[in-house]
């Protein structure tokens, strides 16, 4: 069986930053593997460890810089990796979930996986939609926000728990092939070992262009455009206690005593 894990390199913003046009100025961004995708990789690797003949393939859409991220997935146990990128994609202003789903659709058609795992959302633009959009495009069944997975490799069926709001979980059976979007906390993602990192350097990392995937540039045309980015006006009317740590702690202590919630 083959499991495809989609991963994304996401940008995290420093506490202080400036905006340059339609994005945060590059010097204030740090890149890392998307938190949700880390759990998706772990789930796939655990599946391959618990069963014979499970291949874990990981794919990302991103520039050369993202090799570092995808090598992290390889170091954690994925067997091989694909990265989708070319000049046309680099030139696209905004990759909305519909566009990403079309790029990943071509990868799914090429790889024909039995199961696709994605993170629920990405930590940067947080659309939370690519996984289900991909499932719909490739005609796979799906489940969103999965925080427990039991997969029957023989039947390619999954029994999942979906984490609903308010501490309620939904138990659902899903026929494969399927796309499951994985919630944080489903497992404990492993750290990449030094040995794993060394091995990752030797595993195949294949870069595919639109042309390689049989796609036209028109796939990048979207009717959703990012038009502005700005720092939200602070709605804060908080009283800020200032001073040294013992002074601010004293202010808080006085408040707690004065309001009567804490004695002593």
């Amino acid at each position: 069986m083959k499991v495809l894990v989609t991963v994304k390199e996401v940008a995290e913003v420093d506490d202080e930053f400036t905006i340059d046009g339609l994005d945060v100025d590059e010097s204030y961004l740090e890149y890392d593997l998307n938190e949700w995708d880390d759990y998706a990789i772990e789930e796939a690797v655990q599946l391959s460890e618990a069963n014979d003949d499970v291949e874990v393939v990981t794919v990302t859409v991103g520039p050369e810089r993202a090799d570092e991220t995808i090598r992290m997935a390889l170091a954690k146990g994925a067997d091989r990796a694909l990265r989708v990128w070319d000049d046309a994609i680099a030139g696209a202003e905004f990759l909305d979930p519909g566009t990403k789903a079309q790029l990943l659709e071509a990868v799914v058609e090429e790889e024909d996986p039995d199961l696709v795992l994605t993170g629920v959302q990405s930590g940067d633009d947080a659309f939370g939609a690519t996984g289900v959009a991909l499932a719909e495009r490739v005609g796979y069944e799906w489940a969103a926000v999965v925080n427990d997975l039991e997969h029957d490799v023989e039947a390619n069926d999954s029994s999942v728990r979906r984490e609903l709001e308010g501490g309620v979980e939904e138990l659902t059976d899903v026929e494969g092939p399927a796309v499951l979007t994985i919630q944080t906390g489903i497992n404990e993602p492993r750290y990449a070992s030094l040995r794993g990192i060394r091995q990752a350097q030797r595993k195949p990392l294949d870069v595919q262009t639109l042309d390689d995937l049989g796609l036209e540039e028109s796939v990048l045309e979207t009717s959703v455009d990012l038009t502005s980015m700005y720092e939200p006006e602070s709605e804060s009317d908080a009283v800020i206690w200032e001073g040294s740590a013992d002074e601010t702690a004293g202010e808080l202590a006085s408040f707690l005593r004065d309001s009567g919630v804490v004695e002593g």
Binding site: A133, G166, S223, V224, S236, L252
Partner: protein, 320 residues
């Protein structure tokens, strides 16, 4: 010109976002100059339709297929409804179930989807306001299309009130049973345990800022010194450092203590959803721009590892 809003229910009750969808849907329909239609799918659709018949709703379409949410049925029903009524916008809630079917509806209809709107203006080209980078920036996205799909963030719009006179009618379509390939087999409450954080008068709540499990005794000591209950944001529970019954937030517990002390919690929207009803919110965080500051009543912008030991000492405890 029509807006079709898809309502939500669970275990026999309409969920709050359904009523928020009416308010947002009315706003969108007014922007576009048209009617607001609601879709009600599964369970006691007539009972739900009665409750949803509020001011501003023009029509309610019911589909009595299935008892609970099933994304295959919802996707088919909403797609068929959208093809029959040709709404300019299909509006859904950015809930766990919303995210489980909205992208499929958008795909079936071949229309663009924008998720997690916190505001919009559709009086011209629809312009949607979203957040990015964990709420540190806001963005606007424009949608250049005749028809689009949109999900709205829960609790950003008020719940609709008043009584309406919408026309309620069953919507008939042929459900393709063979395309229903997922089956909901049950529900389970999780996170119950020895302590119910929802009962606490004062919560000391810890987040990612605590950095590692070995530092947890620091906030435990503070909770002890204050006679408070210890709770946390999601990453602490995800890491297995505290049990699920301590988690405050959308997928954990909703709490309303007298005082909520958020320590090293940045204030992700899912967390805020669970604690913004607290009487007084105190934030201790190094980042003055963290989203938690927007809802805090009092704040200390400093390192928790400096402030918390001082606070423990104030109340006669001893920092570990």
């Amino acid at each position: 010109m029509t807006v079709l809003a898809v309502t939500e229910h669970r275990r026999g009750e309409l969920r709050d976002p359904s009523f928020e969808l009416i308010t947002a849907g009315r706003q969108l329909a007014d922007d576009l100059g048209g009617e607001l239609h609601l879709a009600v799918i599964g369970g006691d659709v007539d009972g739900y339709a009665d409750q949803l018949n509020r001011e501003g709703v023009d029509a309610i379409h019911t589909v009595a297929e299935g008892e609970e949410f099933n994304h295959d049925i919802y996707t088919q029903a909403v797609t068929a409804m959208a093809e029959a009524h040709e709404p300019d916008a299909v509006l859904m809630a950015n809930t766990v179930n919303g995210l489980d079917f909205a992208p499929a509806v958008a795909g079936q209809l071949d229309v663009p989807l924008v998720t997690d709107a916190v505001d919009f203006d559709a009086s011209g080209t629809p312009e949607i306001t979203r957040e990015q980078y964990g709420g540190k920036v806001e963005t606007t996205v424009d949608i250049e299309a005749d028809q689009f799909a949109l999900t709205i963030r829960p609790a950003e719009w008020a719940k609709a009130e008043g009584t309406g006179d919408a026309e309620v009618a069953a919507f008939d379509f042929d459900l393709d049973e063979s395309a229903v390939r997922s089956t909901v087999t049950g529900f389970e409450e999780v996170g119950s345990g020895d302590v119910d954080i929802a009962d606490a008068d004062i919560l000391v709540s810890v987040g990612r800022g605590i950095e590692e499990e070995d530092n947890l005794p620091l906030v435990e000591e503070l909770a002890d010194a204050l006679g408070a209950t210890l709770s946390s944001s999601r990453p602490i529970v995800d890491n297995g450092w505290l049990p699920k019954n301590r988690q405050v937030g959308q997928s954990g517990k909703v709490v309303t203590p007298d005082v909520y002390i958020a320590i090293g919690i940045s204030g992700a929207v899912q967390h805020v959803a669970g604690m913004k009803g607290s009487d007084t919110i105190v934030a201790i965080n190094t980042d003055p721009n963290a989203p938690i500051m927007d809802i805090a009543d009092y704040a200390i912008v400093d390192d928790l590892f400096d402030v918390v030991p001082e606070l423990i000492e104030e109340f006669g405890g001893e920092a570990p």
